[in-house]
Amino acid sequence: MLGVINRTKAWFAGRCGQPLLQAYYDLYKLLAKGAVYSRTTTWVFRAGPMVGLSAVLVGMTLVPLGGKPAPLAFAGDFILLAYLLGLMRFFTVAAALDTGSSFEAMGASREVTFSALAEPALLLGLAVVARQTGRFSLSGMYGGMALETWRQAGPVLALVAAALMVVLLSENARLPIDDPNTHLELTMIHEVMVLDHSGPDLAFIFYGSALKLWVFAALLVGLVLPLRTGHAWLDVGAALGGIFAVAVAVGAVESCMARLRLVRVPQLLVGAAALVALALILTLR
């Protein structure tokens, strides 16, 4: 997905861009490197990336794709998903504070602020979908959706999808909330928290954030593209196409918008929550 996003941004900028599989080359390169640790850090710094990657890997087993149920599906699994992402965030923030650097702490403080505001929007959005479909597990909700659901409750699902897009941009540190490219400490949120990590730790973090982007994109695609032709490979193929379409959309947004002022970001997130609340009111009729 990262390859598609970067290629889209490059196309907007008139460049040729990185190879599509650049992310994997970077991972391989990082795993082959040594590491430098700060003397201020403790075991929390070394454990943070591993905890984060494990949490998002377990989270990935909860997310369905293309109408197929997820490997681990049960009532309330989206609660576990949201809180696993919270666990990943807790340990990333703890590792950032472990270095004793004000840059990392700055990013950490912004990260916890924005995710505290984004999480209610996410859970409430999923509650709206649960009320609409009457099922309480992600596989049930997304498996039970079809084009019929959009015909019946189009505005509701559109509002939830818009809110999910905003939450995706916020949680994955994409423009207009955060810039994954600048590597300037004062303008970033996620990139600055991982400033001191190197080598395999950085590889774990990089892969973890790529997987987190996949998880959010899969949630969005399941909502927006409920194609149920009955052929497994066609559904899954359509879902994969949808995910790459989301990547193109993210790349387009990143190329066309500048980063928002930090005081505007909470307003954007509360706006997403307001959209979900509106969708809620519509379902209550």
Binding site: T40, A55, L80, V93, A94, S101, L124, A130, R131, D201
Partner: protein, 655 residues
Amino acid sequence: MTVLLLAVAILVCSGLAALLATASPRAATTLGAGGAVVACVMGLIAAVPFLFGAPAESLHLAWNVPYGSFFVEVDALAAFFLLPLFALSALAAVYGAEYLLEWRGRKSLGAAWLFYNLLLASMVLVVLAHNGVLFLVAWETMTLSSYFLVTFEDEQDAVRQASWTYLVASHLGTAFLLALFVLLGRGSGSLDFDHFSSANASALFLLALVGFGTKAGFMPLHVWLPEAHPAAPSHVSAVMSGVMIKMGIYGLLRTLTFLGPPPAWWGCVLIGIGLTSGVMGVLLALAQHDLKRLLAYHSVENIGIIALGLGVGLLGVSNGSPVLAALGFGGALLHVLNHALFKGLLFLGAGSVLHGTATREIDHLGGLAKRMPWTATTFLVGAVAISGLPPLNGFVSEFLIYLGAFNGVTQRAAVAVPLLAAIAGLALIGGLAAACFTKAYGVVFLGQPRSEQAAHAHEAGVAMRLPMVLLAASCVLIGFCAPLALRPLCGVLHVVSGLPPRTINEQLAGAAGPLRYVIAGSVAFVVLIAALAWLRRRSLTGRIVTQTVTWDCGYAQPTARIQYTASSFAQPLTALFAPLLRARRTLAAPEGYFPRASSFTTATPDAARIALYEPAFSGVGWLLARVRWLQQGRIQLYVLYIALTLLVLLVWKLG
């Protein structure tokens, strides 16, 4: 039953013995703490069978007090609240044995242990009492003994103020309880719980809400919590926060069993209280820079979560939805137990920090993980648990409440709207709690020491470390064995919600299914961490691994003071919620071309206290000042008053 009463007797006797032995600190500590531990272990073993289906036992003796009788009964609800009481109190007693030795020679340790054991004994009697007078006597003893424990360091002005606030607030609450019991007993003329009538159920519910809510810490009745908990010695703070405020929840639940079928608005009121307490509690916690005050506000927040669960359960009972009732009440009760465990752990950790560094000020600490590794690790377990993160126990109870609420959102709007508010509120509270605890853990234990005291911290001794390790282990255990933790809930839920046991078992089995998947996920999580650790070690063997300073952007002389402070970490959130927090800031800005010293301080006093209580109390003071002309100070005038009153009474009664 007899074993429980024997435990109470042992507590009282060992407390008195400790008082008599106060000349020798070691003897007093051994008698007091030893008696507490023995009694708690006995009580724990005696209480457990009542949770798993043993029939309720009672003891009814006459007592020479009007309307009073020594009527004690232990049923599943009482046994469930006795669990955290005995478990946490025993561990806190072991902790306190070493913690209090710091004051030997300066303060009477015998008195401290007397009041500690009296506190435990009175809490046991509160839970067991089935007569109004006995309940109120035990409640008052609980308040007074905890008051004397809070005033342990009474040479400090702040401690005296805090204990005065605590005493006044508790007695205001007890006044409402008195009214409640009088109204409950009016119908039958007896104050035994068996004979209570439920006329005027709504008025009784409101009285119970205020009376028990003052002890539990609902907003805006919580103002004594953030004063009293930091002032008390740490093991007492742990017991007060983990167990004593749950006595308010116990009282509320017991009253609900008297009041019959609840109307729907009761559940909505509790959900509203839960949302206010939860969100405002965690916001006020974010603004604090005193470690124990931060933890006290988090107690308010967690009581809010428990109230949310109780509200969901009440909505279920009033709507005839067994799922909502079982999962809502189940989640709330499990959170009572979980909160006792992890909040006790956090307060003991804060006490260990105070013991090692002599300061509670977060912005003067830092880097303690290297000097106090045991405290740091157990505090991390407590922080992850209280933020409700998997795979620990906080997630299990919040998951139950979420599951209940989600099951109810498909119903009609009158039920769905409060439940959706509860879901959004829980999500917000969880996010803010994670923010607050990353701040607390990160600034206190990680990074570099910000002051000399932090740089020379020393780790706590074995007696202080052992309870913390055991509590951390129990958090992990409950997290990984969640369906087992559901089994004791069956009997309690039957008492609280009135549903038949078979329905409850069905619902709990229905909840145990998802919990097993959660545990599967947690186990997979741990296995993956192990796998990644192996991968990392394999990648790093043979490579260059060095240590250097943290990336400092080229600054020539970074110091520990340029690290982020707790206030700066919380600043985006406190700025966002500024209208609710009303922080006061004093700024001495740098001026001139070569600025010298400048300072910036923020303080966030409790808004409820300033807006509600201070005007009310000054009004009462003004009113009483108007009546002061009656007190002339002359004995002859007072004798005249007495004579006049007697004359008026005689005329009234005989006329």
